[in-house]
Subunit: 334 residues, 2 copies
């Protein structure tokens, strides 16, 4: 159906080699043939076949992205960072979900392998030993974004969750809060869960505040998780004046339940989130949150794997600085 370089060659009366040369303008032909070939190509509506090209070149100019679930604002920014920079460098991105708890991770990686992506970016998925094996066995550059493993040979870009949580909670303490809850972190999540909990508890301890385990409401990073956490606080009649949330969406859930129960944020209770995703400045009140530079993480990670693809160099792990973005959801107590 579609025209091939053979068709062009036949019509233009040259060889396929020459056609290939002018199309990729490699030189080695005179102006006349160039014009003729180009004209024929246009006339035939030629469009090069990247797959055939990939076959012989052993590289697909494609980078794969695996994320658990694309529905949250969190991933939107990251993927935009990835897609923008891969586009700039002539790479296409092929995307797949790893399922909500990474349930599809093996199929995903297999798919990426069969598609022969040149590099791989994995976002926020917790990888277990077998997954890591499968990943490294692909033999292509990869990087983890906003996650890591306990092995040294898996490069990642992320913030230091422990100290990010620490600064968030310290900020609350500096605002004279003493009874601070925590919501939305899963203690079994050794990457993004327990470090944040540990940062939270350590900040309390360092400032002479006893840790009350009842004030830690575990859960996922979702809006609903925040809602149920706040409901639990209310049922407990907990006397908290602030809550630190493991994600912005959790914070919105907290604030939403507060609203339903006529608890004012930040007058009755202060809230700080985590991520600085797009929703954080759209909330009412605007959310004070600790920022992960999501777009930049996507961009940076993408640049790293492209560099690794092209120069065959190792990718270094990188801990990027977090930053507290102060908005209006925290009240200074007197």
């Amino acid at each position: 159906m579609a025209a091939t370089i053979k068709d062009i060659a036949r019509v233009a009366g040259v060889s396929t080699a020459t056609v290939s040369r002018v199309i990729n303008n490699l030189g080695g032909y005179n102006e006349e043939t160039e014009k003729k070939v180009m004209a024929v190509a246009k006339a035939l509506g030629y469009r090069k076949n990247e797959n055939a090209r990939s076959l012989v070149q052993k590289s697909t100019n494609t980078i794969g992205v695996i994320m658990p679930d694309v529905t949250t604002a969190f991933y939107g920014d990251i993927i935009k960072g990835i897609e923008d920079t891969s586009y700039e460098h002539g790479y296409s991105v092929i995307l797949t979900h790893a399922g909500s708890h990474g349930s599809r991770i093996h199929e995903s990686m297999n798919l990426m392998g069969e598609r022969r992506v040149d590099g791989l970016i994995i976002v926020s998925v917790e990888l277990h030993e077998t997954a890591i094996e499968a990943l490294t066995s692909l033999g292509i550059p990869f990087i983890l974004l906003s996650t890591k493993t306990n092995r040294e040979d898996t490069p990642y870009i992320k913030v230091d969750d422990y100290s990010a949580a620490y600064t968030a909670v310290k900020y609350l303490i500096d605002n004279n809060h003493r009874s601070i809850g925590m919501a939305g972190a899963n203690p079994d999540d050794s990457i993004a869960g327990s470090p944040r909990i540990n940062g939270y508890t350590q900040a309390l301890l360092d400032h002479g505040i006893k840790v009350d385990l009842n004030l830690i409401k575990p859960g996922g990073f979702s809006f609903e998780s925040g809602k149920t956490a706040m409901q639990a606080f209310i049922e407990d009649e907990a006397s908290i004046t602030a809550v630190f949330c493991a994600s912005d969406e959790v914070a919105l859930g907290i604030m939403s339940t507060c609203f339903e129960n006529e608890i004012s944020v930040p007058n009755d209770i202060s809230v700080v989130g985590y991520d600085n995703s797009k929703v954080s400045h759209m909330s009412i009140p605007p959310l004070t949150t600790v920022a992960q530079p999501l777009y930049e993480m996507g961009r940076e990670g993408c640049l790293e794997v492209i560099a690794a693809i092209q120069n065959k160099c190792k990718i270094e792990s990188k801990v990027i600085p977090h930053e507290l973005v102060v908005r209006k959801s925290v009240k200074k107590l007197t």
Copy 2:
């Protein structure tokens, strides 16, 4: 580097044809050879090369998705719908942005063509004549989501923006609002802009309410657009009691500026949004909005193009029903 079927064939002492047969289990071999081949494949860490496969089969099992900007919650739901169903049917999705105003649309389509995607889904991009030409010239099934063209041969799935806007505004009128603003629609956008404005004005006219052009604040679908619209209303000292927004994010922008100016939603002013994206139930107060079934649109559109790919049938355009989701951002006036 990576093992091929030739390697397997050599080691297992059979032909590549046989290897191919057992790998795709097509039958035509006995159990022993099957086991041997499988064992060798495993031992060599064989992974099939989808690109080579695509070359001879003239189909890539890939569907392309083009969207203007993936950063808003709106697209998150749609793309999840697409990815889920394409995965279920054994297709991969390759994603690209068309730039903020479709500026990259030609490059995007070209890329999809060169990758030989089997089908194409275009989300929310307004297509002009040359783009439509380029699109149809690809010769593959495609569908537009949440957008359309003025030509009949470009199938789409979308809600009826005119009547969706109409019902939203009628709902406000039924709640005794008479002075109703509109924000965030671009009148030059003939797909999602002017129809919503027309629905808005017609609803007013049908209920004997004069249309005041000063109450229509044009803009984009963004949060910022909502904020500036509300600021304009305030500067105008407009006596509106409600505002209909062209998107949920615009509505959040309106509510945000209201909050800053101590205008209470819904007590002082009622707000209704558009999309029913994830943010709409996370807002304070929860947003009454007219729902586009985003996830289902993604799923449905994906199913259509897969059906078209496999059965070579035409895709029919489909106007799907909208629905008013009543939450807490509208107050009934007495």
